[in-house]
């Protein structure tokens, strides 16, 4: 017997088409289907296009480096560029981003250097950028935990009367976690200036969304928390940007949190150690390749005359330059210091840690036994 019994409520509800502003063919949708959102200006869309192209080049480059065995792991966001780039583009400088391990291209788009993004994936340290400069929290690995941090930071900003908004990125699988529920609820009760952007890429590693939940959309859940929810075409960067920007404005003006679901697709495997052929069909991947967020916007921009060959060439050149920078930072010898292991555990030194540090230092000098004997003799 399957655990997934048919849900009568779900089946009686009408299908919910995601909100979009530009369709798969690059055509704008009629105004009465746009949910009241206005298409961003062409200049904005061109900027989003540029950032998506550069982000994808980075993603493809890092995946290649991982396949070459030069990185410990890399969770790709290929195919999800519209969600990632729209989220970052909607941020003001004083806003904070709370990303997950899959959101490296969001970091890149907010200005983090490739070498600092890759510090964790190449194993130098658990995280490697300047959080306060970029106003980006460390990429969270335990699912949905960072959503609560975003709510807390947003609430602190509200208490200090700052106009800072926190935006957190989550995946569809993460919405099953208790911390997601608690974050949605705390945010709504406290009217925290926070925006939840759920990238529904349809798989939590291998498990499809219909085994995560029995409701129609993730966005539907918002009503249960008392906040607005939007179900958006996550491969339409115009729609994602318009909806996220409106949610940011709403949060900034004291209107509280918003839950936004972007329907998208993870084209790559979960990570390099995953085998997606075991749980999804090649035809499905092909279908989603044809709904590519970059190609769609490209069609629109070309039709508008905004994306000339010259502009395209300059974007591609910038993307290649970034790819080269990314490759170059892998050839740099990463300096890791074993004795740094003890440096950042507490704000003040601890005697026991100092002893362990001395032990490791002696071991590095080839004399670990001596350090233990010295301690034993001193207490004898």
């Amino acid at each position: 017997m399957s655990l997934n019994v048919e849900n009568p409520i779900m089946t009686t509800m009408p299908p919910a088409p995601p909100l979009r502003l530009i369709d798969d063919l690059g055509h704008t949708v009629p105004h009465n289907e746009s949910g009241g959102f206005t298409l961003p200006a062409v200049g904005t869309l061109l900027s989003l296009y540029r950032q998506m192209v550069i982000a994808r080049r980075f993603d493809v480059q890092v995946t290649a480096l991982t396949r070459q065995g030069r990185l410990a792991t890399y969770p790709s966001a290929l195919g999800q560029e519209a969600c990632e780039i729209a989220a970052v583009a909607a941020l003001d400088p004083q806003d904070w981003l709370f990303p997950t391990y899959r959101d490296s291209i969001a970091l890149l788009t907010r200005g983090v250097e490739p070498k600092d993004i890759l510090a964790s994936f190449r194993g130098d340290w658990h995280s490697g950028y300047d959080y306060h400069t970029h106003r980006i929290a460390p990429q969270a690995t335990p699912l949905a935990t960072q959503a609560l941090h975003a709510v807390g930071l947003a609430t602190a900003a509200k208490l200090k009367r700052h106009d800072t908004v926190a935006l957190t990125l989550l995946g569809d699988g993460a919405t099953s976690e208790g911390d997601a529920h608690e974050a949605f609820n705390f945010a709504a009760v406290w009217q925290a200036p926070v925006v939840f952007v759920v990238q529904n890429n349809q798989f939590a590693i291998s498990v499809p969304l219909d085994k995560q939940m029995a409701c129609r959309t993730i966005a539907d859940k918002a009503i249960g928390y008392g906040m607005p929810g939007y179900y958006v075409d996550g491969n339409d960067v115009a729609a994602m940007y318009a909806v996220i920007s409106a949610a940011m404005d709403r949060a900034r003006s004291g209107g509280g949190p918003t839950l936004i679901e972007g329907l998208t697709y993870r084209i790559e495997a979960h990570t390099n150690s995953d085998d997606p052929t075991r749980y999804r069909k090649a035809a499905d991947v092909d279908l989603w390749r044809h709904r590519d967020p970059i190609e769609r916007l490209e069609k629109y921009l070309v039709a508008q005359g905004a994306l000339t060959d010259e502009v395209r060439a300059s974007i591609l050149a910038a993307a290649e330059e970034l790819a080269a920078t990314t490759r170059d930072c892998m050839t740099e010898q990463a300096v890791v210091d074993p004795l740094e292991l003890f440096e950042h555990v507490y704000s003040t030194p601890r005697t026991a840690l100092a002893e362990q540090r001395a032990f490791l230092a002696a071991e590095l000098d080839g004399d670990a036994v001596a350090s233990v004997v010295a301690r034993e003799k001193s207490t004898r």
Binding site: Y131, H149, A156, K160, Y346
Partner: protein, 339 residues
């Protein structure tokens, strides 16, 4: 600010008064909030009610909802949002209503509170105090009497302390709030109503030090939180048997004060650790192991543990059989060969 620095000067000096531990904790939070506008308080029932143990009594009325607020009933949410607040420059003091109700927050505490400084190479620090009323002997129903300290002491990155008396309760909580590191502040429920005369703002020993509460020559009895009273009663009772017991109140479980405890053990040559938590894998195992490693040649006998049994905490009518008592401790000491 270092946890060992003196208190700030904004706190008025008061005449000695008889205070319960709960009142001393209340005064510590109050004074910290007066001195530091970044200190905020939230948790379950800590607002108008003042907490189920009244530790936050009156603070909502004095400081208002922006600094003292009832949160939704969700411990991971309380700790998780405290992390975000601390990242933005606040010093949250949050309450887990009871020991066993802190477990939903386990992931936030172990994976983030404890690791954030290390993960970010010190760029993000989390000055959060997580207050946890713990241990038994209050006739509590299930899930209201756990001694959960070993979960936290086994986690690098956390500071874990437990006061045993009103003066320490005040001083240690002020130190914990002033600390730039996250502190698990374990409050022994059975001692909330214990009284002492205290002149606030009292400053006792530094947060990371153990203290010798009673000097002795034959045995070092090591206790913390709720069992300090038991250890002192044991020492008093032992006098009639001609046994001189030195009682140490650890105060800080992590870090462990090797210096103070080691010096005592080297003097007496015999040590026994007393705690309410179950024995297997308990905090006493670490104490016994490190004291043995560092002081083996001074020891006249194996280090003993007198603890709760390796069973879930019992129901109210049976807890007296579970808790360490002076008689049980003295019986354990009598198993040593005394030459």
């Amino acid at each position: 600010m270092s946890p060992n620095q003196p208190l700030q000067t904004g706190t008025a000096v008061r005449a000695p008064e008889t205070l319960t531990m709960a009142a001393a904790l209340n005064a510590a939070i109050h004074d910290a909030m007066v001195d530091d506008p970044t200190v905020v308080l939230f948790g379950e029932d800590i607002g108008p009610l003042g907490g189920v143990f009244r530790v936050t009594d009156g603070l909502y009325a004095e400081f208002g909802e922006t600094r003292v607020s009832d949160s939704p009933l969700a411990e991971a949410g309380i700790v998780g949002t405290a992390i975000g607040m601390a990242m933005y420059g606040l010093r949250p003091v949050v309450e887990m209503q009871f020991d066993a109700f802190s477990y939903p927050a386990f992931q936030q505490i172990v994976s983030h509170v404890a690791k954030m400084r290390n993960r970010t190479r010190g760029k993000i620090q989390l000055p959060i105090v997580i207050r946890i009323p713990y241990a038994g002997d209050i006739g509590g129903v299930e899930h209201h009497s756990d001694s959960s300290e070993a979960y936290w002491t086994a986690t690098p990155g956390l500071t874990v302390v437990s006061p045993s008396n009103p003066a320490d309760a005040y001083s240690m909580l002020r130190g914990a709030i002033a600390s730039d590191d996250p502190v698990i502040f374990m409050e022994p429920k059975s001692r909330y109503w214990s009284k002492a005369s205290v002149a606030l703002p009292v400053q006792t020993e530094p947060l990371d030090r153990a203290v010798v509460l009673r000097a002795g020559t034959d045995v070092t009895l090591i206790a913390y939180g709720p069992t300090v009273k038991t250890a002192l009663a044991t020492a008093a009772q032992a006098v009639t048997e001609g046994l001189s017991i030195e009682v140490i109140d650890l105060r800080s479980l992590s870090p462990f004060d090797d210096e103070t405890v080691g010096a005592s053990v080297q003097k007496t040559g015999r040590a026994c650790i007393v705690h309410e938590a179950a024995q297997f894998g308990g905090y006493g195992a670490e104490v016994a192991a490190r004291l043995t490693e560092r002081n083996f040649y001074y020891l006249a006998a194996p280090i003993l543990r007198v603890t709760g049994f390796d069973i879930p905490y019992p129901s109210p009518k049976l807890e007296e059989y579970y808790l360490p008592t002076p008689d049980r401790i003295l019986a354990a000491l009598s198993t040593w060969e005394w030459s």
